[in-house]
């Protein structure tokens, strides 16, 4: 049995990619294995841990629960697309580093994308709102206290960079 292959165009981090995938290929696998964007990690394959979260048209989505063919025609943002235009660390990335919000780093890309969308929606989260923002992502290393700090710090950094612009 030969699988039917679909030619699709995926726009990831502003770059258009052409790739050919079977219908069942998950977006997470297409990003990692077909496009070589290995920053997106897969932790559970059933949408619970949030490690594979990417932004689809700015909204956090579990890339392990989405087929690559369904992402065609949408703007996908992965962790590789979160840095500032000048190549320096983006506000959420910078905040994670400053606040020691990561240890092994495996779940981190999913937190970074989730928080990027979160602070776009709520630029001044309280600590409780910060906790709500990340309540769908699992981390086994940090105990989350520093990630909550990082959310608040990221929002602060994002506001500062808005002010500069």
């Amino acid at each position: 049995m030969t699988e039917q292959i679909h030619e699709i165009r995926l726009t990831v981090n502003g770059v258009e990619h052409e790739t050919a995938v079977p219908a069942r290929r998950l977006l997470s696998d297409a990003l990692r294995h077909d496009l070589g964007l290995t920053g997106t990690h897969v932790g559970c394959e059933h949408g619970v841990c949030g490690a594979c979260t990417v932004l689809v048209d700015g909204q956090p989505m579990r890339s392990c629960l989405m087929f690559a063919v369904s992402a065609a025609g949408h703007e996908v943002t992965t962790v590789e697309g979160l840095e500032n235009p000048d190549g320096t660390l983006g506000p959420v990335q910078q905040a994670f580093r400053e606040c020691h919000g990561l240890q092994c780093g495996f779940c981190t890309p999913g937190f970074l994308t989730t928080i990027t969308a979160g602070i776009a929606e709520n630029p001044e989260p309280t600590e409780d709102e910060a906790r709500d923002m990340i309540a769908g992502n699992l981390c086994r290393c940090t105990g989350y206290q520093n990630i909550v700090k990082a959310v608040c710090r990221a929002a602060e950094l994002a506001r500062e960079s808005e002010d500069v612009q």
Partner: protein, 792 residues
């Protein structure tokens, strides 16, 4: 660089790549590799009658399918029993692919190599296996009853019975004014790193050499195992451990079946081959921990001083014993914590069950021991009507009693001898942090609001930095940059940062100029691994010693070049100078001088021409010297160093729903001198979260047929941010270890150890009913309340 790096909250160098998504985990390398999938047993206990793989060969994109019959030589032998012990008389290990029988749901039966994982899994579905089902043995009780056997040739399901004592506990208990007996139980949990297991291998036919990338806690262990099983010389195998997405103990087990099958496939097929475990596989085919049942007899005096302690326990080690008796030995010894009972006797049985193997998970047997000891302390306090902290205090080893010999043999075969600590000072600190003395007024205030609160305390001692050794190699390049290699691996502990801090201080170079490599056998072939909170102690010390050697050589050459006395030299920011003068030479230039070449090829070489070193009448490289500015050394301690800590937690138990809410969590921690307090506190945070999971949420729900019912993140309840304390009050005590040059003790596992003990105490205190089993869910607490009501 005048600031000391040791003890500073330095931001991690690892983060730059990890937050950009440019870290390299095993599944990120070799994107051209073939993928694999493993057919796993759906039954907990069965004989394999036949396996038919014919249908697989029709699947397009399949490159190989193997069963046990395809394995040859050492690959067809059982996997190694890594840590034998004289009392482990009935050790058993599985085969890389099951031979004739399966003993747990998840055991590997067949292995498929295909173009991608999707096709490999399609192929698995076409393999037909005929099983003859056998009765499954699940849980400690069934194992003890031994109505059925896991292994036909292991009577009573007992792999080992081990006994240790210090003094005559039975006599001490018989003569004691007060006695109590307790029955206690802890259920299974597991490490659950966010990245599962994974291995990639490439065979290079031009060099006759194998390269293996694997998500492990021991590169050198995997290397030795792969070489032995594949019949290769050690020198033909390189093992690289890249970024690892968490370990927590499970990745110290090696070789996993896939860690051998993948390299073998790479060699046979001449292609890069990859195995990436999925989450369900991690639940059913890696390893679990914790499950034990304890019976305690204790005798004590009017002050609560323990005169005799007798502990009998049963340890469920699953279907096989690849990691020996490490977990129950640790439980049986570290149970003693900071206390000095008059006499102690412990005996355990390590039992087979038809479940996933049990090997160390962060804490490695200590959470169970701590739970048992601390439950005993609370029971004594309750019996005597005394303050729980006071009962602990009268049992403490005192600061002037170190080194303190507990009179037992520890997991490393060495004496259980504590090197240093100050438990009374620690108790004062934790009582202050949690406002122990004013808790009753807090309780009354809450009671007035109709709320029920409780306070729990738990103390532990943790043997860390277990031997036998670690080594380090420090190389100062002609650029002045310092390249350091140590053989143990990293799984998120920030070794590249902490170790660079040690080097910067010792060598007098800029932190930014130091680059640390871990877990690469090409760079350091002699190493043990990352477990038992040993990396900072072992590799930290080795790196310090190796840097010292490089520094000694640098100063010797600099003294010659600058025509100065060694004692007058100092190194600051990578430049050696004669104190109080302008006379100086950069380390990079010294590196050139250390390597007398015929050729100049860079600026450093040119700069070096202005200096003359060495005696022109003697050989350019002296007999007792070697070229290059390097230092290499190993650190091998006589025994473990003992860290300690105390946790206190205040919980509120909902009067209606029995939900358990954390109001306050406090930690006092003593790991000797801190290298990087930010990293240590991060380790504590993570440990506490796992402690919360183990106390309130996580358990492996096996049914009586040995099926794991909750083998997913949907059903196995790991804490999210909503389950952990909002903040953790942390205070440090720094009692240096006399056993290593930096005075450090391990910190990795500490945060998890007293979790169940502290929560059990707090819930008991809130509810005024006895807690004997952990974890505890709201429904279980609700049931306990109902049972208590009924008994009244």
């Amino acid at each position: 660089m005048t600031t000391k790096m040791m003890g500073a909250k330095v931001q991690r160098v690892e983060d730059e790549r990890l937050v950009r998504g440019t870290g390299r985990y095993v599944d990120d390398v070799a994107l051209d590799a073939l993928h694999t999938a493993v057919l796993r047993s759906p039954h907990a206990h069965a004989r394999i009658v036949s396996i038919d793989v014919d249908a697989v060969l029709d699947v397009e994109g399949v490159h190989a399918v193997w069963t046990y019959d395809d394995l040859e030589g050492a690959m067809a032998e059982p996997l190694p029993l890594l840590i034998p012990h004289p009392t482990l008389t009935q050790g058993r290990t599985q085969y890389a692919l099951a031979k004739d029988e399966v003993n747990y749901v998840g055991e590997a039966i067949a292995f498929v190599v295909a173009d991608d994982r999707y096709i490999a899994e399609d192929a698995l579905a076409r393999i037909a296996v005929e099983f003859e089902l056998l009765p499954a043995v699940v849980g400690v009780e069934a194992a003890r009853e031994a109505a059925n056997l896991v292994h036909d040739d292991v009577p009573g399901n007992v792999a080992a019975r081990m006994e240790q004592s210090n003094g005559d506990a039975a006599a001490a208990i018989a003569a004691a004014p007060h006695t109590l007996s307790l029955d206690l139980k802890i259920e299974r949990s597991a490490c659950m790193p966010m990245e599962g297991r994974g291995t990639v291998a490439r065979w290079d036919p031009d060099q006759n050499r194998l390269q293996v990338w694997t998500s492990t806690q021991t590169s050198t262990g995997v290397r030795a195992a792969v070489a032995a099983k594949l019949g290769l010389d050690l020198g033909q195998v390189d093992v690289i451990t890249p970024d690892v997405g968490g370990g927590f103990g499970v990745k110290i087990v090696h070789p996993w079946p896939e860690e051998l099958l993948v390299p073998l496939a790479a060699q046979k097929l001449g292609r890069a081959v990859k195995f990436t475990e999925d989450r369900r596989e991690h639940f059913i085919s890696s390893a679990h921990e914790r499950a034990q049942v304890h019976h305690v007899e204790v005798g004590f005096d009017d002050e609560g001083r323990v005169l005799g302690l007798d502990v009998r326990f049963w340890h469920d080690h699953g279907a096989y014993t690849p990691y020996g008796l490490i977990v129950p030995i640790i439980t049986s010894t570290q149970l003693l914590g900071p206390y000095k009972p008059g006499a102690y006797h412990v005996q355990f049985d390590s039992l087979y069950t038809n479940t996933v193997i049990v090997t160390p998970y962060r804490g490695a047997g200590r959470p169970q021991g701590c739970f048992v000891m601390e439950r005993t302390m609370d029971a004594i306090a309750a019996e005597l009507g005394k303050d729980r902290a006071d009962v602990r205090a009268v049992n403490f080893i005192q600061p002037d009693e170190f080194p303190y010999d507990q009179g037992l043999i520890f997991q490393d075969g060495r004496e259980l001898k504590y090197d240093s600590g100050d438990y009374p000072a620690m108790l004062d600190k934790i009582k202050e942090l949690v406002d122990w003395d004013n808790f009753e007024s807090f309780r009354e205030a809450k009671a007035a609001e109709g709320k029920r609160v409780g306070l729990g305390l738990a103390c532990y001692v943790e043997g860390t930095g277990v031997g036998p050794y670690e080594g380090a190699h420090v190389h100062i390049e002609t650029s002045g940059k310092v390249k350091v290699a140590t053989g143990l691996t990293s799984q998120g502990q920030g070794h590249q940062t902490a170790f660079a801090q040690i080097v910067a201080d010792e060598l007098g170079v800029r932190f930014e100029d130091v680059e640390i490599t871990t877990g690469d056998t090409r760079r350091m072939a002699y190493a043990v691994g990352t477990f038992a909170s040993r990396a900072a102690v072992m590799s930290g010390s080795a790196i310090h010693l190796a840097a010292k050697r490089a520094k000694e050589k640098a100063l010797r050459i600099a003294a010659d070049a600058l025509e100065a006395d060694i004692d007058d030299l100092e190194i600051v920011d990578g430049v050696v100078s004669v104190k109080g003068t302008d006379s100086s030479i950069p380390l990079g230039t010294i590196a050139v001088l250390s390597n007398p070449l015929r050729y100049a090829f860079d600026e450093a070489s040119k700069a070096a021409t202005q200096f003359n070193v060495g005696d022109p009448t003697k050989p350019p490289v002296a007999e007792d010297d070697e070229p290059g500015l390097e230092g290499k050394d190993f650190y091998s301690p006589p025994r473990s160093t003992f860290a300690s800590g105390m946790h206190a937690v205040i919980v509120e138990t909902d009067v209606e729903t029995a939900e358990i809410r954390i109001l306050k969590y406090a930690v006092v921690h003593d790991c000797g001198h801190l290298i990087n307090p930010m990293i240590v506190e991060g380790q504590i945070h993570g440990g506490v979260a796992q402690g919360v999971g183990g106390a309130l949420y996580e358990r492996m729900a096996y049914d009586e047929s040995g099926q794991l019912l909750n083998a997913s993140f949907m059903d196995f309840l790991m804490p999210y941010v909503t389950e952990v304390p909002e903040s953790i009050e942390i205070d440090h005590l720094e009692t240096p270890s006399p056993l290593n040059p930096l005075g450090i003790k391990g910190a990795g596992e500490a945060g998890v150890i007293p979790g169940s003990a502290a929560f059990a105490a707090a819930i008991e205190d809130a509810e005024r009913l006895t807690i004997t089993a952990m974890p505890i869910s709201p429904s279980e607490l609700f049931a306990l309340r109902a049972a208590q009501k009924e008994s009244k």
